[in-house]
Symmetry: C3
Subunit: 356 residues, 3 copies
Amino acid sequence: MTTSTKINTGRFFEDFVLNEVIQHATPRTISEGDSALYIALTGSRNPLHCSVPFAQSLGYKTAPIDDMLAFHIAFGKTVPDISVNAVANLGYADVRFLQPVFVGDTLSTSSQVIGLKQNSNGKSGVVYVRSSSVNQRKERVLSWVRWVMVHKNDLNSPAPTTVIPELPNFVAPDNLKVPTYFTGKNFDATATGGRHYWEDYQAGERINHPAGMTINPADHTLATRLYQNNARLHFDDHLMATTQFKARLVYGGVVISLCRALSFEGLENAISILAINAGTHANPSFAGETIYTFTEVMDSWALPNRTDVGALRLRMVGIKNMRATEIENIKTETGYHANVVLDLDYTVLMPRKGNK
Amino acid sequence: MTTSTKINTGRFFEDFVLNEVIQHATPRTISEGDSALYIALTGSRNPLHCSVPFAQSLGYKTAPIDDMLAFHIAFGKTVPDISVNAVANLGYADVRFLQPVFVGDTLSTSSQVIGLKQNSNGKSGVVYVRSSSVNQRKERVLSWVRWVMVHKNDLNSPAPTTVIPELPNFVAPDNLKVPTYFTGKNFDATATGGRHYWEDYQAGERINHPAGMTINPADHTLATRLYQNNARLHFDDHLMATTQFKARLVYGGVVISLCRALSFEGLENAISILAINAGTHANPSFAGETIYTFTEVMDSWALPNRTDVGALRLRMVGIKNMRATEIENIKTETGYHANVVLDLDYTVLMPRKGNK
Amino acid sequence: MTTSTKINTGRFFEDFVLNEVIQHATPRTISEGDSALYIALTGSRNPLHCSVPFAQSLGYKTAPIDDMLAFHIAFGKTVPDISVNAVANLGYADVRFLQPVFVGDTLSTSSQVIGLKQNSNGKSGVVYVRSSSVNQRKERVLSWVRWVMVHKNDLNSPAPTTVIPELPNFVAPDNLKVPTYFTGKNFDATATGGRHYWEDYQAGERINHPAGMTINPADHTLATRLYQNNARLHFDDHLMATTQFKARLVYGGVVISLCRALSFEGLENAISILAINAGTHANPSFAGETIYTFTEVMDSWALPNRTDVGALRLRMVGIKNMRATEIENIKTETGYHANVVLDLDYTVLMPRKGNK
């Protein structure tokens, strides 16, 4: 027997080249099974994604899949090329939901290296990529920037020129995409159970969502495998027992999806996600923990040429083993409160009262 | 930051008004994913729900979804309005399966308040509702009565006039619906593996089903989320640790579905469920417990104008951590045996020998 | 109450008759939900099964389901008739994947008894069956031999004439079926992320796949129920607590599927499974264990009349709680190393460089 050298160990920091475009593997056709699993994994009750007649009443040909399901599937493809040797996922920015995704669509993802900065210790560096996902008609459905800290393999390799991309603090209202065929005129709030519209939400308002969700080991691993995200630290307890974490880490996207589903109560009429402006996984999550969430309303925007719907910029905070009402400040002098797991700045589409 | 008042805390006892009709949120389009998940969650082997050719041999256009899957999805919608502040689910009656449900159908549920009785302690009361679920053509597919004990919020609110609805002990044979296109003439028992027909079952016969199923934490929470039933006590271990139960409760519908699947051996030819006559969740179930079941044949009815199929009234008893052969009497002097979790009186459709 | 005798206890050794054909119950229509669940349960990233455009680029009308998903569903039907009273599953041979299976196909399975040998202790015997599964057009899609040790019920029943079938050591290249419409000419390795082709693999090469997967209780029970395999030892902890195993056993097919998915890294271009030549579940697996795998290349075959693709005969070894690099010899003087759970000899289809 000879030992094979066919294992692709993935890119290390010195392997990333500025402006390089990486086409990721595993094109994925979305199925009805994905949507049903997403409901089973999150408990989502947003009727846009589970009721064809409701979706059609808003102008869609049929029910689009959940925005975060599309994101996680699109994102999962980047892992083997971008973050398999990552020390840490540092952040997201400028995440744009450009088109709805439907059952039958096939998503493919590519990433361009848009920034590089070697760390002063010479052992790792930060890689910035802009990833985008297209459907089978090559229409862009998602675009996002993330940055990760990646190990160097050859410590003697030279540091690249430092390039740090300029990133917007948030996706500007002009860049938020509502499908041209969308109409909020027939929005039926009995389908959501919600009583509050765009005009009802005010910057500075905090919504303490009451529900909590305990993460089972199978919940997060089923979800992460469904997304074909193969980062080993989510799956391999034998490996993780040798780390500081002692156990498998929950994929951060699982926490985002749980918080989005838990925040349904109080945000029932948040039709869809238009953008994620910034996101931080403040502390790791593990199976057995119970996730709660609260939302702060950050801003409220009219949308160009639309009187039926507006946009709300929200801050969704995920907390573990502590109810939303039990935490006031999520940051301490030294950083995030130890129970905070997510700090996500995002923008949703909301129907306006004017059309009722 | 100001604290939002947008959380809908749900109805308390004094909020229910006799005869009021409540339209529940979350219309739901049934998908192939729901059916596959139902098999994965229960191990159901009834060919009517997993074989299109078998379903077509009985006259269906395609395979209908499992009756209990339809029921749980229809039922889940009622939780935020009816039982979110419930102390206990007291019972079901007059549950009628009126039409088969197919992939692509969209179910919506509404409930009418048909009875109210304040408890003598003045702190809670019993609410009776008749719920019904319609498909996208507004055809009723399910109708049922349940009653729950609900907290009062304002203890000073006056007691309503007591109205207790009259409920049938069982759904009479004349009210059992078999689709007009249904035919049992081509019933192929090699598809079920069953050797026993309607005529073979006698009132007073007890079938001790041999199989047992251990409930994993993810099994019951995945199922309950799939049904979009958001009652918190099924999901939130952090909350439940502070209660007498110490842990998340298994949704009673999960137990019904497990018992139905476990009772396949000995009832292989029970084609579909026509009615649930009465049901009690005798004791709570928790993850880690193993469910067993036995069936008692209660009655046997010919069906109007049908010689191909008949109805059997059955009593399905769910037991935990004790095999069916190990328990004789499920009631003690003080109530149910502590290992009994379900006592369900229901009616199934069975092919008759006459047509073989 | 009278105790029913309607429970089918399944065949014991003396109930099997040479040459008898057994038609198994539970015909099964494959759905999109099955495929999505298979990805969620295994983390498979083979684009043939998750990308319609990729499948179409190889000549398929749409994406076929994973070969092992088809096998497990086909196999599950045999359990109630063949192995419900089995002491042990002794082995597989001559497993042929004859046709791709698509969503919408309905699989039915039958088995013929092809060998019988009573054990010298007179208490049990070995039963050999050739099973085959057909689709709704009665086309054979799968064929396999397995042999199991089954208890005798009546120890006084006479021993049958011993017949041991001749089984091939491996499925010969001439018997490997590639669909006539298949073409590897447009094989796009960016979809797999693989860089290695048929010519690159040499007999004697060992690939230590780096990823590991911890099995959660719900992972294996969800999978085994999806396959409608009702062998009780996978599901019933109350029963298993009384056995030498102390806990539910993981269905061997779950381990095969995990190893196949884990071996993707280094075998990205292994398009599909053509045959399983032999297979042994060397030791049992339990929830909580982490599975790793390595592959040895055993042989490399050109295929008749094909220059676009070739076949590789591989040995896939599954190991628990020990990485592939940590184990040299999987056999000790007394049998398999205690951490080895699977030893599978199988054949895959691989694109040839010649067409690139």
